[in-house]
Amino acid sequence: MNAIIFSAVWGIVMMFSGVLSNNKKTIQATAIVGLILLFIVNLLDLGGNHFINIDLHNMLYFETFGLLFNAIAFGASLLYFLLSSSDILKVGVNGAEYFALIFFVLCGVSIVTSFNTLLMLFLGIEIISIPLYILTGADKRDLKSNEASLKYFLMGAFSTGLMLLGITFLYGATANGSFFLDDIAAAKTSLSPLYIIGLLLLLVSMSFKVSAAPFHFWTPDVYDGAPTVFTSFMATIVKAAVFIAFIRLFGDAFGDTIQRWQIFVAIIIAATLFIGNITAVFQQSVKRMLAYSSIAQAGFMLFALLTLNTFAKEGIILYTAAYSIATIGIFAVLIKMKDYSFEGFNGLAKHHPTIAAVTTIFLLSLAGIPLTAGFFAKYYMLAAALQTGKFLWLVIFAVLCAAISVYYYFRIIQAMYFKEGEPQVLETTLSFRVVLIVLSIIIILLGIFPQWLINQIYYLYL
């Protein structure tokens, strides 16, 4: 609850900071301070120190899983701010408002990681979505940005409709007319068509939000069109948060009927992996490739949903962390590039060895090469699936897709290291590079001692 309140409040603070000061540095500093505070209050929450004790009427339910993710999301956002906050201010004149919107999104993030009723889920997702529509269109003079924004908005609204219909059916299916997850879980006994339809519609709309095929179509266009700095945010923290919501929803509300819907998830995973990986192969723009790769990564993350066992829950935390950090890093580098095509990276290693090296580590992590966090992320997903003893075909399909993913991730590595060229890179500050190195160290550490890190957090707060 701390985080929800604080992020909303700090959003307002950011709004006023724009009114009170024209100094970009001040705004930037305010945002970073706010995020540090947000991170701290969330840690306090994890430790059991709440600022305010209000009767939640069971609308929200805070558990370690969600709060832990919050910590990761806020931590990742902090790194994101440290890397890219100056780029946020470059997008347009409304820098302070962008920060405010991001804080509102983070408020939505902390809601969707702690909802206990579909109403809160709905509100949380809307609080996330509406600022994102705007951020996507933030670069108002850029037609691509406009277009992305409109597309995102129209399709987002459409999927909201689907979600609401699903919620409605579930409401009808409950015995006592309730939106609480417990009551919905209790409705499984009847297994009425209302329940199934509601479940499927929620599956579809949540799949839309996490960009799982065939509901992913908005993703490449929006990620491509949005200002890169916001794409980074959307593709990582927001997406991960929705994933947590997805898993919480299906784990808590539909966990008992998993046999019923597992197969649908399996189909969606297969389609997502297939489309994400295959389509990414032919992309010419790194940014668009990363959009498709985020779809492909979503396919892997969905394994957690498929299985919902301990492996999955531990794994999805690790996965979101690994994925977010690596993607934020890559986008941070991408923002600095003048040419987003693969050729734009040619010869980067020669001219900017540090940037090339850390980018390589990020890419290796995304590809799931051992000794990076990405490996264990994928490892947990595969282990979770194999644990069930079913879906071997899907696991094998997934690893084949992972092999394909190497193709497009390594194209960047090839360009950086093995090709000649004069890459056009914007000025980077020392602190920027230091943060990048910190990111890559985190990735490596997570890759060698994943358990250690998770355990530390678990032991600290459990």
């Binding site: 529509y133 129209l154 219909l165």
Partner: protein, 109 residues
Amino acid sequence: MPINYYIFLAVALFCIGVAGVLTRRNAIIIFMCVELMLNAVNLLLVAFSKMHHLALAKVDPNAGINGQIFVFFIMVVAAAEVSVGLAIIVMMYRNTHSIDVNFLNRLKH
């Protein structure tokens, strides 16, 4: 009224909305069709709320009220969405003098 009627009515309205989204190319009309879908959902929610109320009124006089509250929130959200959505459409129009979604094809493949 049997709840079936409401369900079919709402689903029909919803699907008309969906068909509208699919067939029209004017962004505003598409958006209106989405609103139509939301209204179909609202109607169904109210119907369900009354259904639950009927079934449980003896136990809980307020049974089913949350459905109507939910409708209230949907309206709230819809209003917020409309404000943002129309702003985006207007921005688009300012830049391209068109709100035809078919012309939204700079981003593809």
